[in-house]
Amino acid sequence: MAKTPFDIELDELTLARARRGNMDACEQIYRLYRQPAYSVACRVCSCRELAQEVTQEAFITAFRKLGQFRGDSPFWGWLRRVVVNHSISSLRKSPKADPVELKDHHASSEASADRIGLAMDLESALSVLAPEDRAIVWLHDVEGYNHQEIAGLFGKTESFSKTRLSRARSKLRDLLDAPSAMGLAQSALAN
């Protein structure tokens, strides 16, 4: 079974020290969750620079509000909510962000050629979606948010979330079924 950020072990002592404002403990937490936090921000914002800013702000907010984390659920669940809130807020301010570039994803992948090909197709298809649609499909399908939570994040109704998810999935399916159409769409985006 693949490891998820929920599996990251964070000991109570580090958490307690961080709550008291100990910088070494905060740094330890930052290093543990830096990558998943950035990854979620990147997927929601679809822009590396924006995602970096969002991750910074999210960690600052999280450390300031650490006293509000009760510890009765996994820390990543709480931190992820902070990251997603900041990401959506940034997305609303600058919705026309540049899509995530594929070349970096290439370099980091160590899977087989087939899997890389499939991942590339998925990445390409995602980059064609509208920013809000991309964020919604990611939050629902990968992060496990329900429609009520997504609606709350965007300040809209549940039917908004359902409609956009269905539209995004259908567009993704079309794009994955017809790679040539995806190429056209991407070149249209580039132009």
Partner: protein, 183 residues
């Protein structure tokens, strides 16, 4: 059996298998920036706490004097030499009233803030940071109140913080209203 159930659920949740995409690595180490921001925040918080204590003390004195002037003087119970309790009971009356009215005021303010919170939409970053700081301070005062529940000083701090929060929301609502009106 269990595996196939989990597999089906995952398929329904993520039909396009987006979850299979790898995590994206962050480009730079942002810890120095985050640490500096946190250190600044800690300094500012210490200063704010000191300023609030001074303000709260002043507010308490004003409130106590106001209550003392406006309230009819409670005639102390006849002091009996045999009753040691009676001699200490009378002077507490004004203090208790101050505490009660502060608690009531704090509850009122909290209800008001709660109502505003449901009405206000997205906030700009600067207001959001201020809101987070204020909520942080309220949480801290709440923690201190759990240790000293009868501290007039702490209750006045709480009222002042909630008043600031309520002003923040009111301003945002005003902004939202003007934005809607201009459409």
């Amino acid at each position: 059996m269990l595996y196939s159930k989990v597999h089906i659920m995952q398929k329904e949740q993520d039909p396009l298998n987006l979850g299979s995409l790898p995590q994206i690595s962050p480009p730079d180490d942002d810890w120095p920036v985050i640490r500096d921001a946190l250190v600044q925040h800690q300094k500012k918080r210490r200063f704010t706490r000191m300023a609030f204590s001074a303000l709260a003390a002043a507010a308490t004195v004003t409130l106590a004097v106001g209550l003392f002037i406006n309230q009819p003087v409670v005639s102390p119970a006849p002091v009996s030499v045999d009753s040691p309790v009676a001699s200490t009971a009378a002077p507490v009356v004004n203090g208790e009233r101050t505490l009660d009215s502060l608690i009531a005021l704090s509850q009122q303010m909290e209800n008001r803030v709660r109502t505003f919170r449901t009405e206000v939409g997205g906030m700009p970053t600067d207001s959001l940071i201020y809101q987070v700081e204020l909520e942080d301070l309220v949480a801290q005062v709440d923690f201190e109140l759990s240790v000293q529940p009868d501290s007039i000083d702490l209750w006045s701090q709480r009222v002042n913080l909630l008043l600031d929060l309520s002003r923040l929301y009111q301003n945002q609502l005003r902004r939202d209203y003007h934005r809607m009106a201009s459409l």
